[in-house]
Each structure stands twice: as C-alpha cells, then as structure tokens.
Symmetry: D2
Subunit: 320 residues, 4 copies
C-alpha cells in the first residue's frame, strides 16, 4: 500500500480557501496533518473558527477522522503591522465565508494551544493559501526549517504586473510584502507558485461551476451557501481588460491541486523570484528574474500551464 | 494635394533608431521637421553626429533635401545625473552604430546651435525612440507644450514586468526613470507606447530580415554594415524563456511606423500608465493601471497588436 | 574703486524672500543682475509679480535704477509635477506677501520674455531662496553651467533631520526633492547652505524685530504690512520642542547675507551632502555625509555659525 | 524589604554589551531573569557563548547564583535575512569580545533549549542592546506581549541623522530596520531610547576610563583584555566632526543604567518615533516626529540628558 502524502495547510478562510481545503480532503492518498491559520481574507479569529466547521461539513458519514485534524492559530497581523486593506470582506463576506445567516462558525474552544508557527516547525509539507506571515515567522524562528520541507505550494503574487488590490499587487503578497519577500528568499525547498494572473487566465467555465455546485450533496449545499456572497460581488464587478469575471476562478484551489498531485502542473517558469518592498506603485509585486540579473541561487516554479481536466476532477470530487 | 504629416524625431542612435529613421524618410506623405538628440544608446556627442550621416546615406540622388533637416543637440545625461548602465555599447557598438571601420560620423559642425529642448518647444508632432530626458525638460520648461502636440509616439517601457536591463526595467525608461515618469504624467496629448514586450513578441522573421538587408542598394549596404555588430551580439546571447532572439526585433521602428501611419496599430490597451521611481527591484518599470486604481486622468494607448504586413512594407521601403 | 559683486537672485516670494531681497538691495557693493522666479511659497504667477513691487518700494528716491533689474519667470511646478503641499499660503498669505488689502502686485507686463532658466545660464553668481527647480533645469539644459558660477548660496534643507513640512523635510527641498538632489550633486562650485535648523537656532530677538520694523521709513511701512499675516500665524503656532517661535526667523535672509558678505559665515561643516528621494518618512531630507561614507567628490559648506552682529546690521539696513 | 527589579537582557555581545551586563550584575536591587541572544556585533553562536563566561567573571566569590541565570539563543539573522554589514568585528573582534588569546568562550552546552523569543514572552521587563530582531519576533508571535511589559530600554537609533554604519544609520537599527520599525510601532509600553548621538555626546573622560579599568580586581582584568582590541581600533579611527573618539563611549551601558535606575535619565524628548525602511540614503534611520505630523499614538522617551555622576558610579561598580 502506497504511503499517504502528508500535508500541512496554512490558510486565511476565505471562500476559495474553503474550496481548496474541501478538494484536498476529498483527494485520495492525502493526509492533512494540520491546519494553521493566518490573518488575511478576514480577521485571525474568524479564520481560525472556520476550519473545524469545514471539516465537519466534509465528513458525510459519522466517521470523525477529519475532526481529529488539529487547527492552530497563527499571526494576527502582517509583520510590519499594517497591510494593504487588511481584509477582503467585500468579496468573502464579513465572517470570511459569505455571511450565511444559518451557518455560524464554532468558537475557538477546540483550537490547539500551540502557536501555528511552532506547530509548523514540527511538520513537513506545506500549502499556503493566505498571506505568508506564518511561514516568514517560522523561518525567522528557525532558519533550518525550509531544509526539512519536501515542497512548498503557494497561491499568491503575480507574474505580469497585474494586481488585484493595487495596480501591480496581488492580495496575499500585498497584504504582507515583507513576509512574501522572506519566504521567496529563505525557502530553498522546491517551491510552486500559482499567481493571480495564472489563476484568472485558467478559469473554469461557468457551466462547470453550475454542475459542480448543484450536486445533490451536503457538501454542495454548504458550498452554495458560502459562495452566494462572492458570486453577487463578482456580478457587480466590471473589471475591464483582464476579464477575470468571464469564468469561475477558485484561486487557492490551484495551489492545493498542485500539492495533492504535482502532475497537474504541466508548465512552469523556473526562475528566481522576489518581492518589491520599496516601490511606491509596485510594493508587494512579485518580480520574476527570468534572465538571471539578480544572481540569486533560489529558484521557484512559477506555474504557467495546468492539466485542466485533472483540475476539474479534483474540484468536482470536493463536493461529491 | 494632401498636406504632409509633420514629424519631429527625438532619438539616441542606435542601430534601431537608424532603422526607424530611414523607414520614416522613405515613407510617403511625411516631412521630418527636425531631429533632436538625447544621450542613451551612446554618448550625446556620438548620438548627435550620426543623423546627418544617415540622412546622407538615405538620399539616393543628388537631391539634398534631406540634408536640410536640422539636427539639435539635447540632454547629455538623465535628469538625476545617473542611469542604469549609461550606454548600450555591447549591442550598438562604441560609436552607437556598429563600430564600422570605414564609416565615420561627421563632426558636430553642422549641428544647430539651438538646444534640442528649445527646438522641440517650437514644433508639433513627436516620436521618441530614446530616453525621455529631452521631452521631460521640454514640459518642465513649458508646461503647456503637450497641449500643442497632436500626438506622441514612444518606444520604451514594458507592460508585463519583463525588463531588458534590469529584471523589470526596459532600457529607455530605466535610463532616466524620472523623465519617463514626467512624460507619462504630464503629456496629455494622445500617446502611443510600443513597449519592450510588445516589440519582442512581434518580431519579424529572419527570412524577412535577410531579404530586407540584402537588397542591392546603397542604403541596404549601409544597413548591413551598421547591423553586423548587433547581430553578432544577438547570436552570442542566450536569454532563455523570452526568446527575443528568435526573430528580428527593430524596437524603435514600431513607434516610428505608428507615427507615420496610425493604422498600423490594430490593438491597444487604453489605460493610465506611470513609472515606478522608488522601487529597489522595479525602479524604472512602467506600470499599467488597467482597473483604474491610481485614479489618473491621463490615459495612453499601450500597443498590443500591429498590422505586420504594413510594418514589413514600411521597413522594406527604408532600404529601397 | 572696487568692482561690485554681481548677484542673481532666484526666489519664490514669500515674506522672507522679500526681506532677503530688500537687504541685498540695501547692501553696498552689490549689483543684482536679475531676479528669477520659481513656484514655491505661492504660485509662479504670484511669485513673478512681486519683485518689481519690492524693487519699487526699495527705492526711496526717484532714482529708478532698481526698476531696471530684469525679472524672469521660471518653473511653475516641481520636476515631477507634484510637491509636498504646493504652497505655504497659511504662512505667507494667498498672494505670497501677506494678503495686504491696499497693496497689490503689478501684473506680468514688465516681466522678461526669456525663460528664467535660460537667463540664469548667462549669469554668474547665484542665491536661491526657493525650491531649486530652476537651478536643476539649468544644469540639466547645460551641464557645464556650475563651472561658470563663482559661488552658490542656498536656503533650504536640514542638518539634523528636523523638518518643517514633514517630520524630516524642510519646505524648499521637500517641495522639489529631485531638484534639490540634482543641484547638490551636480553643482561643483563653492556652495553654502543655510538649513532650517541653522536658521531657527540663530533667530534674532523680538526686540530687534520691533526696532527693525518700526523704523519710520517707507520700506519699514511696507515690511510691517507684508509681515502681519505671518506674525499672526506664528503666534497661533505651538510647535513644541523646536521652539522656532521664540525669536524672529527670516530664513532666506541668512543665505542672502552670506552671498553679500561671506564673512558672515563663521562656522560650517564641509562635507558631501545629498537628498533622500526614495524614503517614505524622509523623502526630501538633506543628508550630511560627515564621515565620507557616500564617497562623493562634491562637498558643500553647511553653515553652523554666523556673525550675528553683521547679520543684524545687514537686516537693519534693509529698511532704512 | 524592597522587592528586586526584574530584568531580561537581550544582547549581541559586544564589548559594550559586556560592560553593560557587568554593570547591571553589580547594581543593587536588580535580578536578571535571563539573557536572550541576538545576532549583531558577531554571529549568533558567538553571541550566545559569551554571557555565561561574563557571568562567571562577574562572580568574585564561589557564589554561583549568577551562573543560574538562563541564557537563550534567539534570531540568527535580521527579519529580511540581510543587514547593513552583518557584523562589527573590526571593532568588537572576530569573536565579539576582543579576540583575547587566553580567553575562550565556553560552548553552547549550557544554553537553554527554549527559543529566546519564547522565553521573552514569559518575562516582564526588557533591556535591548543589540538589533531588535528578537523583540520584533516576540510581538509578531504574540501581539499582546508589549502590554505585559513594565518598560523597555533600547540602545539604538539616532536622533539627528548622524549614523555610524551608514551616513544616517546607527548599527543596531540599520542591522535590522524592519525589526526596529516593528518594535517602535508595536511596543506601547513606556520606552526609553539611548541613541547613538546621545551616547557619543555624553562620553566619559579617558581619565575615568583609566581609573575604571585599572582597578585591581579580576573583573577589571577581564575588562582590560576584552577592551584592548576596540581601543586599538578607536585610536586608528579619525572620524572628523563627530569626534566620538574624544571620550570613552560605552553605548549599551546607558540603556542598562536607565533600566537599573530610571532617575539616571534627566532629560528626554517625548515624541512619536519611527524608522525609515524605504530610503536609499536613510534606510534604518530613526525618525523623531517632534511636531506630531505622523499622527501616531505611541510615544517614546528619546533620552537627551543623563545624570553623569550616577552613571559613573554605575559603571565603576561593575569592575569592583
């Protein structure tokens, strides 16, 4: 029997964090070792309350194995104490998961006492779908940590200077640019990055979305509820050229799919990457050093192509 | 009889500046009112010596009309006094036009006494193929100048954060970022920008290049000579991913072709643009504000598509 | 007979500009060659209208020699097109000279047609009491200009990181940091700088001020009028620690006095200086490189001590 | 019986760290709860080895109480992974304490297993004499930590833009500007800062130094040895204007003396402070917001005057 792939998930719930997590829970051969929580789409307390509810919704049977997955509270603010626009409640709702009246996150009672960063230091494989504050603190506390990691999967940053919160900056990176800088420079392990441009160019069709969300399962019902708010926001939205609204974009799910099955990644630029910290217009922008001008050793895989069929199956399974 | 289109050319010769200028000289319905010179690919003195030689090479007959086009000396250094790598002699040769032993630029004797910036202020339509120092000084001296311009065509900047002199910075903009910033912010006239990414993605085939350069004319002979050095450099070059060497890229000629015939431009993003001045990794990078986050009034046309057939005809005529 | 000292005055009227100019007009052995105007304390048009009125008020007799001094219009905005807080009308009044109902600046009719920057390039000695935009443009237009200057006297910048418009930035420098940077780096001539900290630490007593302003002369009457607004502002002001309100501080007059008689300067730090352009908190701050870490050739004299008796005589004469 | 003052010392040994620590150990009414170590003057491993040796040298009797003071290993590098000039071995010696041949730091055997940052979070009063990396990590891990602190004493930063490692930057702050920024912004407890300018202007006389170091005690003998290297460096040094070599400057001891006895502080500016992160010339510079322009709530006491008699007694006792 093949050994399971062990995964730590660092997230900032978030509708797409929920989508990504549910997909991973449904994937075969994966064991989620823990869930570490980071400020981001909503406050740290909100973020920390949701995972156990998602785990609960994802267990169709009375099998409570999922409920044993420990949840850890991490950083409540960016390293420098301020971010672009602390939260993204216009999209994700004030509670981070669509402000659904008849859903309510459980309290913080069952959350682990250990700090997310310290828990992270004991573990071995990592997907990060929120700001990278916890990961930055982990390497600052323990510089040898990245050497222990088998691989790191990140949703964040951008590759063609198209931002979603500033002209050039993507949410997760702009939320804590120093943390992103630290992680991209200090994590020497194999690193895969699903950028904002990559995700919105590789959208799923609305037809897929409708089929996906209209499955007659408890999980699909849950998803329908938490997605309603974001869908409404997207409809009103009229971002021109980029047209990221012409399909269904579940940003975090790309990083998660790659973590679960690396063969999803069918194309990537392998180059050094960094983050602009000082810029007036570009603070938080991810920089690709394609021609080696920065003379950095660390390289990352900036994902450019994805096996969309595999990805659709990965997503579809989440709500079955 | 239709009136001629009047054009002022600001350049920093430069092999591709020469290509662009010769194409414009060969184009019907165009009158070049003057040539203003800017530091850039080579020193200002070098830049200023070449135009009259190019004009001379471009007149097949004894008709000396071209030799009446006045040449003006402009700014010898970027506004702040330092640029990225002052010149680009590795590509353009030490003298700016391929270091051809049996060619030598005439002296500065016949250059106008008036400063390029002051000449510019008297004129009406503008193509800029070098750093934008002269244009910045012009608007700093005379804030109402841009209102008099019918249109402005620029080769420079980038649109997807791919640089050629720094990780994110294109040569002309990075050479004098403050000048580029001033021009993009203060020039309210219709402005068309051919960026580095646009030009290298819309390369001409090497087959075209060979046919173009092997015409049996005096102009083609001149071009063969001045291109040899750059061709050698390109061959040695192994820039990966971008692969800007897989075709013939005459950067400045795109801006010139658009100036001569706007219908060459078949696609463009119309958005506010600016330049990062403060960044550590991104200083000099052009920023596109596609979704209006910067709340700027001025918009430019960032060229995305070109009528390549027209462009080939425009180029081919240059050496006939 | 000793030859006169020839001086060009670049100013941004301003109450203390007026004070400085009137003092220089009253000083023996000085010939003012011209007055160039720069945006700053008020709009360029306002600035440009006042000098002829001041010249008129400074001629007690029917001798109109002062009225022959040419006035030139210069830059209307900082190089990058925006400054800290464009003007300082809270202190200097909306018209730049105290909003005195029965005074009104003459129009722009008698202003020279030549641009201030071009006029500057023909001249030989320079005092600058406003933002340095004109001086920056002059050296950008003509890099050899500073070599022709005998000496340069500047009011502006700071030497101990105490600002008056931002936490660390003085008005003239913060108004156009790039211009200040260019001037401090490109002007190789002997340069004397009267910083904000220097001026407010070397205030004149209010007793002197009262004696000075209550002389029974037409000039004193003019001064009383234009100073009233600023005095009112100062009284309301409660800047703590610095306590720049405990005496009479005529900032620009220190630079002018030094220009008229260098022996006023009895102490100075001779070191390389520069200006921070990129800082978030310190943009526009003057940096002293006392221990040579920047390895710059150019050094300036940052004034630390002044012959206050000479200075009082210089000021007192202005209104006689 | 009065209760003892409880103190945690965060240091980066360092000759003056040793001086400060020995003075505190000799002071009555003080209990040192622990020593946390930070990269800085030398590598983290070097820094971490020395405290136990200093403790050993400071116990004249067989009383081993000092040897019970726990020593914790903290951050080995600045938050962003790079600092100005990682270490200051030219002054402090390669091993951080003067490279004395017959002294050698014990190994790391007796160092606590707990991370310095986690130890810090359990404790209550703090003196920091090195880069502020540990303190920044502490508040990033636990935002409520500063509320628990009674007071914080820092040696670092500057107050008049005079730097010692860059033109405007002091060593401890420039070594990790982000950490300094985080601490100055996030620590709401009463905070006292002994800046570089404050310390070098309040030097002790060389006569005092000679008397101090020539006491016939084991501690003085130890001090003579570890100071020799730094004294040699200072003699060679010829920093002009500042003249910080005209007296004996034990930087860290001022912060320690203030921590031990707050009445040493006889003058201070109480204002908001911050750190420039983005500047090209001023990165790492401490900014004093004397006139409230930054509109920050947190204020610190920037020390300006000291009871030098008390300070001499404090220092003298260290080697008795």
């Amino acid at each position: 029997m093949a050994s399971k792939k062990l995964l730590l998930v660092d997230l900032d719930c978030g509708v797409d964090d929920a989508q990504a997590l549910m997909s991973a829970l449904a994937a075969p051969g994966i064991e989620i070792l823990g869930i570490t929580c980071c400020h981001g789409n909503t406050t740290l307390d909100n973020v920390t309350c949701w995972p156990r509810h998602i785990l609960y919704c994802s267990t169709a049977t009375l099998d409570n194995a999922f409920l044993q997955i420990p949840v850890y509270k991490g950083a409540s603010a960016p390293l420098l104490g301020y971010g672009h626009s602390i939260h993204a409640s216009n999209y994700h709702g004030k509670d981070g998961l669509g402000d659904v009246p008849d859903l309510s996150a459980p309290g913080l009672e069952n959350v682990q006492k250990e700090h997310a960063v310290l828990a992270m230091l004991r573990l071995v494989s990592l997907v990060a779908t929120g700001p990278l504050t916890n990961l930055a603190l982990a390497v600052n506390m323990e510089p040898s940590f990245p050497q222990k990691l088998k691989s790191l999967f990140i949703m964040g940053g951008n590759m063609e200077s198209r931002g979603n919160v500033t002209a050039c900056g993507e949410f997760n990176f702009t939320c804590d640019p120093e943390a992103a800088y630290i992680v991209l420079n200090a994590y020497g392990c194999p690193t895969y990055i699903a950028t904002w441009e990559f995700t919105f160019k590789n959208y799923l069709s609305w037809a897929f979305h409708d089929k996906w969300i209209n499955q007659e399962t408890r999980k699909a019902e849950f998803m329908r509820k938490i997605c309603a708010h974001a869908a409404e926001f997207t409809e009103k939205c009229s971002d021109t050229e980029e047209d990221w609204t012409k399909g269904f974009v579940s940003c975090d799910s790309y990083a998660m799919a790659a973590a679960v099955d690396e063969s999803c990644v069918t194309g990537a630029i392998n180059c050094a990457v960094s983050v602009e910290l000082a810029g007036t217009l570009t603070r938080g922008m991810m920089v690709l050093d394609i021609t080696g001008k920065l003379e950095k050793k660390n390289k990352a895989f900036v994902i450019t192509k994805f096996d969309m069929e595999k990805f659709e199956r990965f997503m579809m399974a989440a709500l079955k």
